[in-house]
Symmetry: C2
Amino acid sequence: MEKLNKGLKVIHELSAVTMWPASVTPMAAQSDGSHGFWPEGFSSGAVDAGIKYSNRKDLMVITADRACSAAAVFTTNLCCAAPVLLSREHLQLSSFSVRALVCNSGNANAATGVKGMDDARAMAEAVARELAIKPEEVLVASTGVIGQLLPMDKVQSGIVSLPSSLQHDSVIDTAGAIMTTDTFPKFFTLEVRLSRGSIRLSGLGKGSGMICPNMATMLAFFTTDATIAPSLLQEALRYANCSSFNAITVDGDTSTNDMAAILASGTGPEIEADSEDYRLFCEALEALMIFLAKLIVIDGEGATKLVEVTVVGAADDRDAELAARTIAQSSLVKTAIHGEDANWGRVVASAGRSGAQFNQDDLELCFDNLVVLKPGFKADFSEEAASEIMAKSSYAITLRLGSGPGQARIWTCDLSKEYVDINGSYRS
Amino acid sequence: MEKLNKGLKVIHELSAVTMWPASVTPMAAQSDGSHGFWPEGFSSGAVDAGIKYSNRKDLMVITADRACSAAAVFTTNLCCAAPVLLSREHLQLSSFSVRALVCNSGNANAATGVKGMDDARAMAEAVARELAIKPEEVLVASTGVIGQLLPMDKVQSGIVSLPSSLQHDSVIDTAGAIMTTDTFPKFFTLEVRLSRGSIRLSGLGKGSGMICPNMATMLAFFTTDATIAPSLLQEALRYANCSSFNAITVDGDTSTNDMAAILASGTGPEIEADSEDYRLFCEALEALMIFLAKLIVIDGEGATKLVEVTVVGAADDRDAELAARTIAQSSLVKTAIHGEDANWGRVVASAGRSGAQFNQDDLELCFDNLVVLKPGFKADFSEEAASEIMAKSSYAITLRLGSGPGQARIWTCDLSKEYVDINGSYRS
């Protein structure tokens, strides 16, 4: 309850400062559960299967009343987990038509070899049996420690009791069940006004550590009642993913289990290719994904600050991303952010080693709107004003390279002693 | 004195477990100063100029009785410091013939624009004036905080008093004067038996934070009495640098001021190209540079452990280096090393995201000689035996990719809460 209240507070605050698209109405959940419900056609449930944690839910399922259009992006880590391999396979086998998604926390089922693949398959089969659907209509996801086999007896018993936990308004419970070192559940719903009526778009996610998604993401699941073809849904997901989950970092480690999936039930208005409605849908999905991505950074392991690193004026977007990512992942920048020290030298030093091309005399740097560095390394700013900005829980660092039109934006957090504490003993 | 004794203890211990080449006799300094002296033809001195620290030496000079062959490698960071730019220029202007090297700690003279370049030039000119040599015969190096102008009045007064501090056996003092967050001075001397007699090879270095040299190094200065042409000396330095300073990481941040330089006074036997003596010289220089590189990792900011990460069986050496570097720099691997947790899943997950190509089912992993993972993700090892290894202050992690003949070796340290403490407030 404490975690939930903390989460709701963070979510409400972030929503309040978010520039939502004009066609969107944000619908944050309340502690009484209102608005914590799914779009038409979806239910979810969660149980305490005792996989690793005690006295908390660690196994959840999202189900759809009918076959949904499905799309997903996955980690690019070569050591990808068994559920990632299986979910990829199921999307192909089912022709991107999905009825359920099952996910456990406490164990990643990664680096588990043939047995791990059998276990992931058994999870899908058990869910299919309980819901009277086909195994290939089930997506499987796992998160937790790497390199240990799932306690399949506990998982199987948990799955048997999942159907009786199914509810339309249990989103909060469901989001809580996929937490690992997260300190609060992350979920949000948007109502999106389209030309033929409104649709609803819900998302939940988890992050915390091993967060540096690459062409994919940590775990995040989305549902919508829109009617949309799988190929178009996949295109929208890929598009929105680039500027959201692929643009955050907690510790620079790309996970073995990253996965973002979206299910569209098709009970709401239809969205066609190249339409204005498709544009609005993409815009809303991107906004929701950026929102969840920020929540993940805010709740990064040991994190106390959310910092938006923007690089503009790069030779091209690739160079801008190199520089932004290097700054956002620098341990020295992240400890300075933690120490609230306006150590701008570390920011330019990170850009200098990033591989991006520029002339060091052209650099210009701002913390929020405070110019701390002008071209020619003229640093003449009020330390007091800088300290005021760095004391905030969220601010922006913007670096101008003076080399061209390229730009990129990455969200990062600080590096604290708690990160070391959490990760020195996570496995045991 | 406490720092010195700690340093001598660490240096003696590391030397005792080092496999020195057959032609080499290690000559560690003693606390009474014996062996802490330079090869024939060199002196050095250090003073307390009050640049940043109080009550400690922070400015030093190494001088040669006659013009030396000189070679150097520098940081590839685009935001390289003024002294890096100036030393590059001076090597060209003097045709690689150098008489002195001046270095300060407490201020990096980086990101300081035109004024910084003027200051570096003024340092060389002041040293040249005191020693009655040409400014271009002086190399300049700086280390410390980035983005602040040098207090040139203090630097100038310090340089005036440097000559009276010159001694043949003041290596310990000199190594101490370039420390920043280092906890002990780092220096070592080798005697190398060549076909026409012995030469001496001395080196001192500093590291601590912002350590991830790329095609260059942190600060390290070498002297020898060998007679060797500058071009050959440069070749030897580049060769030895690849497997030593370029193969270590503390925090993944490549500094703006990295520089390794070597001066050869030419009073000892001559070393010719393609000779057996040249091979022995390269071997000895590499051994000395690896020794200093390891000292730098041992003394990394907040570090408590030295871990050798080796990747073998990669498709090629580039892939092996990608994997080894990614493992060695992973915050999750480094915190697990700190927590003495045999979390092998993080090692394979790092390799998986590194960009190196392999099949995850082929992976094999050892901690020292303990096999913790066999192909097919068969992890069946004694946690007790693994814990024993991880409790040591130094051990090896070896990952076999099973893809080809490529291999690489990187030294790293753990990530501790002290690192966060040190870097949260370094500038102020």
